[in-house]
Symmetry: C2
Subunit: 314 residues, 2 copies
């Protein structure tokens, strides 16, 4: 086939999906290069597309002068410099909707495992404590508990639907009330945290939500409460979180995301009981990752064919 676009792969994604791009494009895998500067100087100029997962700084865009399209594997694009892309006339596309179910499933996995202390219980058996010390501690209910959802977008709604099946009392907070929905709305995050036993974050990252879950909010969730973060690591003040877990001001936490991945704050790694850490895997199932990849594939086809992009964000 003629006129295959050249794609610079900056941060790789699910390989079986990424490999499909080779059917319709010529890919250059920057992340594999030993000397990235040389690689970029050689291949950057012929590329019209960057493929990435979460991150694309303006400096990289400058190294690809004929750039027309950025393929971002994932929904959140807070690591992509959108203003810089828009200014240069570059379209950014993401992979919405196909991962909603998967991320909601992961949120519930963490809510349930956190609330019922599944990891602590597993360690209790494996250390021999069940035989030595008797029954494991009693925990708190999932069913009939009060949950606050920070960010009731498309994924937040999927989380809410699942929570309904657990007979939970559901509330939410975000900037604007969704009057069409029958869930309790809180104008104030801290008021919601005071009233809830479980707080789950699924708002976009970026500056406006940075450390929105601060020490006061964490304290408000309280000593028998649980914080779950499937949003972005930046939305939680993780140092405050570590302090609150250590001195019992917060009952437990379950985190799928961190501010500087794959690094995890040392202060959190020091804690084992009542803290679940997972490596940003909320959408990381085979099927969902393939679906996400095929959205990028379809956008690349659109570039080649001169048809409208499927999922532009700018």
């Amino acid at each position: 086939m003629q006129n295959k676009p050249h794609v610079l792969i900056y941060a790789p994604w699910y390989e079986p999906a990424m490999d499909r791009l080779d059917e319709i494009a010529i890919t250059h895998h920057l992340y594999k290069a030993n000397n990235k500067e040389d690689f970029l100087a050689e291949h950057g100029p012929k590329c019209s597309v960057i493929g990435t997962m979460h991150y694309c700084p303006a400096a990289l865009m400058d190294a690809v002068p004929n750039l027309k399209l950025i393929l971002n594997f994932g929904v959140g694009y807070d690591g992509v410099d959108i203003p810089a892309a828009t200014k240069r006339g570059i379209t950014v596309v993401n992979t919405p909707d196909v991962l909603n179910d998967c991320v909601a499933d992961m949120a519930l996995s963490l809510i349930l495992a956190g609330r019922r202390k599944v990891l602590d219980a597993d360690r209790y058996i494996r250390s021999g404590d069940w035989e030595k010390k008797g029954n494991f501690e009693y925990v708190h209910n999932v069913h009939s508990s009060k949950i606050g959802i920070l960010g009731l977008g498309r994924i937040g709604l999927e989380i809410a639907d699942r929570c309904k099946a657990f007979k939970m009392d559901i509330a939410y907070h975000q900037r604007t009330k969704r009057s069409e929905l029958n869930f309790k709305y809180y104008e104030s995050l801290i008021d919601m945290a005071e009233d809830c036993e479980i707080l789950v974050a699924i708002i976009p990252g970026g500056e406006t939500t940075e450390k929105i879950i601060d020490e006061r909010v964490i304290e408000a969730i309280g000593p028998t409460g649980l914080l779950v973060n499937v949003a972005r690591g930046t939305v939680v003040d993780n140092e405050a979180l570590a302090r609150c877990l250590k001195d019992g001001r917060l009952g437990g936490a379950a985190l799928d995301v961190f501010p500087n991945e794959p690094a995890v704050p040392e202060s959190l790694l020091e804690i084992d009981a009542n803290l679940i850490l997972t490596p940003h895997m909320a959408s990381a199932t085979h099927l969902t990752r393939m679906k996400m990849g095929m959205i990028l594939y379809d956008n690349l086809m659109a570039l080649r064919d001169g048809t409208p992009f499927k999922t532009p964000v700018n």
Copy 2:
């Protein structure tokens, strides 16, 4: 108050609930005695009630000649010798229904944690592998997966209701079809296991279900499948399970129950990846345990007042 019945506590339960019995009875705590034989000889004859959790052998009934009532904390009474009790004219009561939600929550906790590999993922971070080796392995979906429920009683139905919210495809097996329900019925357990990605057991224990989940059934669940047991440890051939986990014939398992609790089979303790072990805690939340205890309290009141028992099983 006069005429308080004497209660022999054989196996203790949730203390705040057990303590409430002292309002209406005189309790004798056999499990605390150093010399159990002497304790039983001294207190057995004056007791008209035994309180226990899961177990009550016929020999114990014989040591309590004026026995009228056995309070069993829990739904399952396979550890209580029902024929022996019935033969002696002793009523056995259990604590049904109030724990349905809690056990269903625990079943989902194990389904989700098992399917999304939450425990393996947590270990992956804590060992430093995320930074050293890159992304964690991709896992399989919860949503849209096929689940088979072995035993669609009251708890099974609560599990099914929750699975619906995850858009799962739900089937069940037990001796009799429930024609009023809209779930797919399998006459054969092994056929259901073949067709499902997740199998969850919530049938009664006892001889008729012993090792009903045998090596053939476990193999049928398959290398990407998950087995969850919140029923009784006896319903699974745990040695076969260990073999199938070790050689990859089964994808994963999550077990809340074991044949000889609090002992856990060595062959299972040798396995960490893809295996979750919890110490029989499906109903072990503060609120549920108190509700279960109050059912026993109400039955004890009924004995004292000569009114009908609330929850007899024989």
